[in-house]
């Protein structure tokens, strides 16, 4: 089960915590991986760790031409893309009344528009081969909302709607489009919280703890696998029971 030997996966945001874990998990199941991000140093480090079947394909996803170029680069490196994981994402938080238009645009462009451009460009090859997986990393707050994150929540909700539309368009061609929505995941970002903050946070999660990056990677491996071929247009919520949707 969940064997990905012979499959080629492009993971955006592989220089970040969750993307790193996703790339490792896909690779461990036998996939060849193309690692993307803007910072090449962590990408090269991950590639060295993985050894064979790993390529570094940097790109700045705030530029739409770079998105199209990234698909070309990854296809050139690996031969084809069977699995696209749209994981790159950023936040520019602020109360809506104070939010700068630029912060709205940056978040929507990288989190949503780039994911669309990458999906659009990758579909051509997938349609031809009549198989493919597009997986978006959205967020629990894309469904619940969160004060101070109007831009981020809009981008993550947008990703879910986009995935449902794409899923309907290409389902007859053996291509599935799904999302994984993490809750609170322990990353470098949450390491800075003190014990009291951690306790308060954990109390709001029925599982009593934050999720790990591997919890997210496991969901991605499942959606990428042949076993998930009848699953499309869905969002897997991986949040320790914080929101049951």
């Amino acid at each position: 089960m969940f064997d990905l030997s012979g499959k080629c996966a492009l993971v955006t945001g592989a220089s970040g915590d969750i993307g790193n874990a996703i790339a490792k998990a896909l690779h461990a199941r036998g996939a060849t991986v193309a690692l993307s991000g803007t910072r090449t140093e962590p990408l090269e480090k991950l590639k060295a760790e993985l050894g064979e079947r790993a390529f570094v394909t940097p790109a700045n996803l705030s530029d739409m031409d770079s998105c199209v170029q990234l698909i070309k680069d990854a296809e050139a490196a690996m031969g084809q893309i069977d699995i696209l994981v749209n994981n790159a994402g950023l936040t520019r938080d602020g109360l809506a009344m104070r939010m700068k238009e630029e912060d709205w645009d940056t978040v929507i462009n990288v989190n949503l528009k780039a994911a669309f451009k990458l999906s659009q460009a990758v579909l051509r090859g997938m349609m031809k081969r009549k198989t493919g997986r597009i997986i978006g990393i959205t967020s629990i707050v894309g469904v619940t909302g969160n004060p101070g994150q109007a831009n981020y929540c809009a981008s993550k909700a947008g990703m879910i709607g986009m995935s449902k539309s794409l899923a309907q368009e290409v389902a007859s061609r053996g291509i599935t489009v799904n999302c994984v929505a993490p809750g609170f995941i322990a990353t470098a970002m949450t390491d800075v919280l003190d014990d009291a903050q951690h306790e308060k946070l954990n109390a709001s999660i029925p599982a009593g703890r934050m999720g790990s990056v591997d919890d997210i990677a496991g969901a991605v491996v499942y959606l990428a696998s042949d076993e998930a071929s009848y699953m499309t247009g869905q969002t897997l919520h991986v949040n320790g029971g914080m929101a049951m949707i």
Binding site: R124, M127, K128, R173
Partner: protein
């Protein structure tokens, strides 16, 4: 019949799985040959590959019949 016409018809027959007799020059992919909109996108991709040309989106939208495809390709082949 020109070479382009033969090759276009072969792609249409293969892709849509329709009877050769139905693939006349005036046949519309959607109305006469049972294609859906995604099939027409795939047909254009197949034409691009077969003839090594790029069919821009606005031209692709106008390719609705076998003849439209043959005409575009003949006009744009180097």
């Amino acid at each position: 019949m020109s070479d382009v016409a033969d090759r276009v018809k072969k792609i249409v027959i293969d892709h849509l799985g329709v009877d050769e007799a139905k693939v006349t020059e005036t046949a519309s992919f959607i109305d006469d040959l049972g294609a859906d909109s995604l099939d027409t996108v795939e047909l254009v991709m197949a034409f691009e590959e077969e003839f090594g040309c790029e069919i821009p989106d606005d031209a692709a939208e106008k390719i609705q019949t076998v003849k439209n495809a043959i005409d575009f390709i003949e006009a744009n082949q180097g």
